[in-house]
Amino acid sequence: EADIYQTPRYLVIGTGKKITLECSQTMGHDKMYWYQQDPGMELHLIHYSYGVNSTEKGDLSSESTVSRIRTEHFPLTLESARPSHTSQYLCASSPISGGSEKLFFGSGTQLSVL
């Protein structure tokens, strides 16, 4: 079973608040990802990282930012949350293994912005 952890599991906050969603993995994976997903719907890539000090924006425009100071940690920050940010945020990681990469997902953070 994958060792990738997300906190908090659920978060309800008011508009305008700054929040950070935590994601940590203990597998030593270089690649990490953040996906946004409405219940049962498509996964949209919002950020990814190939390793320490590497961060890139994904396909879905997002007002969030990420950092990758340590291999195991890939937090996502929203400077000013809005109701349109209400969604599930899934963190994932993958090893670099020459064509056999697969994604390991965390349990997700369900964010509700009032």
Binding site: Y33, G40, S94, G99
Partner: protein
């Protein structure tokens, strides 16, 4: 990016019936992966196919990669209520993963 489409979007079956979801691309894929997401859960990797015409089985699940490597299918024989969830196909594109929109399966007992 190299998008993939999935059909059907939704499927309701009676327990014991078979189920198939299809994944299609307009371009040749280097590989195809399948993930399952239970309601309220997170996607879990099921399998990866890389060879043209490849067929793999996991108990009641059969995965196939097309000869042209542009399509794939997942077939479940004799569905059970534990099969409920959304099935996503995905492929490794460059350094990233591109997911299909998913097929949501409901199994009526």
């Amino acid at each position: 990016g190299q998008q993939v489409m999935q059909i059907p979007q939704y499927q309701h079956v009676q327990e014991g019936e078979d189920f198939t979801t299809y994944c299609n691309s307009s371009t040749t894929l280097s590989n195809i992966q399948w993930y399952k997401q239970r309601p309220g859960g997170h996607p879990v990797f099921l399998i990866q196919l890389v060879k043209s015409g490849e067929v793999k089985k996991q108990k009641r699940l059969t995965f196939q990669f097309g000869e042209a490597k542009k399509n794939s299918s997942l077939h479940i024989t004799a569905t059970q209520t534990t099969d409920v969830g959304t099935y996503f196909c995905a492929h490794n594109y460059g350094q990233n993963f591109v997911f299909g929109p998913g097929t949501r399966l409901s199994v009526l007992p």
